[in-house]
Symmetry: C2
Amino acid sequence: MAFVSGLKCRECGREQPASPVNVCDFCFGPMEVVYDYATISEVVSRDRIEAGPLSIWRYGDLLPADSDNPVDIMAGYTPLLKADNLGKRLGLNNLYIKNDSVNPSFSFKDRVVSVAATKAREFGFETISCASTGNLACSVAAHAARAGMRAVVFIPADLERGKVVGAAIYGPTLVAVDGTYDQVNRLCSELADNDDYRWAFVNINMRPYYAEGSKTLGYEVAEQLGWRLPDHVVVPSASGAMFTKIWKGFNELACLGLLDGVEASSFGPDQNTVHHPAVTTQMHMAQAEGCSPIVSAWDNDEARITPVRPDSLAKSLAIGNPADGIYSLRVINNSGGSAYAVPEDQIVSGIRLLAETEGIFTETAGGVTVSALAHLAEKGAIGPDELTVVYITGNGLKTQEAVEDEVVNPLTIKPTISSFEAAFNG
Amino acid sequence: MAFVSGLKCRECGREQPASPVNVCDFCFGPMEVVYDYATISEVVSRDRIEAGPLSIWRYGDLLPADSDNPVDIMAGYTPLLKADNLGKRLGLNNLYIKNDSVNPSFSFKDRVVSVAATKAREFGFETISCASTGNLACSVAAHAARAGMRAVVFIPADLERGKVVGAAIYGPTLVAVDGTYDQVNRLCSELADNDDYRWAFVNINMRPYYAEGSKTLGYEVAEQLGWRLPDHVVVPSASGAMFTKIWKGFNELACLGLLDGVEASSFGPDQNTVHHPAVTTQMHMAQAEGCSPIVSAWDNDEARITPVRPDSLAKSLAIGNPADGIYSLRVINNSGGSAYAVPEDQIVSGIRLLAETEGIFTETAGGVTVSALAHLAEKGAIGPDELTVVYITGNGLKTQEAVEDEVVNPLTIKPTISSFEAAFNG
């Protein structure tokens, strides 16, 4: 069972029982899950986590859905690799890659969808749905298949082929919308409010539960580092939700006394902005220049986000009106972090740099992240020996068209030694 | 360190020290690794394995390369999922999927290449190479990047785009050969014999070490089932090497006394054909009808394989002259297994069946495997309650063209409720 005591508005603080809503009835602020941390702290332990399954559900005590019966295709517990080759290129001696490209539907979205689908089933929904930039559609369709639920997934019509095929294969109703992601999201928000469609939109009416799944990206890194936190993390951002949840995950572990040498402490009245003083990780956000509304707000020291119309190669980050933008600005500030918009022409070079140094093939979002890391190293924001984790959240096989022309340039030969030698030596 | 005492010819039995050769100087038979099992049995234990890394290197005592310093991008320890939905469709109550599509370069080949690259570095090679049907090229290029070695990978020129891009991204020298895989393999065999190219061809001169990596597919399934073996496994086959090595892995575990309730026993003089009586798993081979030379030999009760010219949608299985064909026939016989050639028109339906029931997107080889499983269930070769594991060895994002036309059929709409409702209800 989940230790959830209800939902609470992040703006006005009003509470209500757990239900499939994401917006406060009173002030239209976003709702978030409230946990019974007193009970959690009695139950949770490193031993209990380490004895759990090799998936996000090992952290079930800290997730807002019932971990006894999850919709589970084995999301999470992905590798954390020491990246000595990439580190050497960038002058970083203590660099790690969190490789989330090897999740079951091949992006980090499996974490959030596994939680949302489980909760949707608890609430009695028979259909799960989403507005997606691609990876989410794949994950919702895959989890629906596993759960025996119907999936209706909405995508912008101009998505990369790998994301369309990678969603369609699981047999959802696939709706291609002639518009931007933000238009797709608006349409889905209207449908979620419409009583004719009693569907669990994972990132709309299920959003409070869904977003919590990304906390596991924080938990896992801490556990894989031996129950300690990195000095820096570099995280790609679209809505900003994952960025805030990694930070939340770090602080939960600290408050619960699960980190090495860190005293437990109370969560205080506002669970979602808790900051344990032992959490000194600097949170660095990466966006692509063609869609960087959060970075722009941070650069201009604005507390609000000005929506943009995306025009970026990194379609999975192309959210012009990011739902968690302002909250991620606060995390950047609270953590002493930064935000950087990667020039569009450095996305493919970031993909190639990671592949050629560490043997990991990431999608365009990962190219953004690696190029942001290179920028941070170059300007000295990350010291040579500081423990740094870069989050690689998606799979390069889904965005092949972004790199194909640049990397596919084979020697073409006949099946003879002479033909090979002419090409190879010539 | 690895517990390898040398190489031995599978045909004439002559032994020689471990070196990068795959063919016997005397009789041209294939060489295989000889282990010092006496020492291994003193060292290895379940506890030691379970305390190891979450990769194939947890079984390092049983691999022929030095596990203290592997070329490692975290191959292996992939999920084993209970497949209740697919089981229900097929009338199987105890069905599991070994999902090897989530390896770091997205196929089981990472297992064999991690071993081969590690051994190649031990032998002092600076270049690793291969003849590939696609997945191997991706894996060799990825591991070379990680190891800081040069990669030269040879592929048939007509491969699927995902495999070409998925190899090229890591920066190898990519050689596209206008010919079949068997022609590519013959060219590479000549190059491996040529002193001008002192390269480690992972599946040619490194083959004895390389092939052993597939034993981990047996070890992991046994460990994940609680140190017991399935009643049946269904395995796709191209060269037949993986098929024989899964069987070898099962028998090694039994002989070493690592399985539940099984007494250890000696390996006897011929390590590679050892069969512990407690190993009763029936080994079922899946090939595609367009390239099924091993199945044909089995069907016709022939001890030799007649090479074929492949014409199959399952390009990763398209080896017309399989190097381990005769050895895999012996495994089928010794295990009381079977071999089945899946009609070409059932490959895509197998991919879809797995995706729609379990949320796992596999490549064409996996479609072959699932359709073979369905055939075995239908004809009663697998009983309803028998513990069955189906090996899914590759990733559907690499063979999108095989399914795209059939599955991508979205509702295309404007970003309005009325446009959605017209399409959805119409």
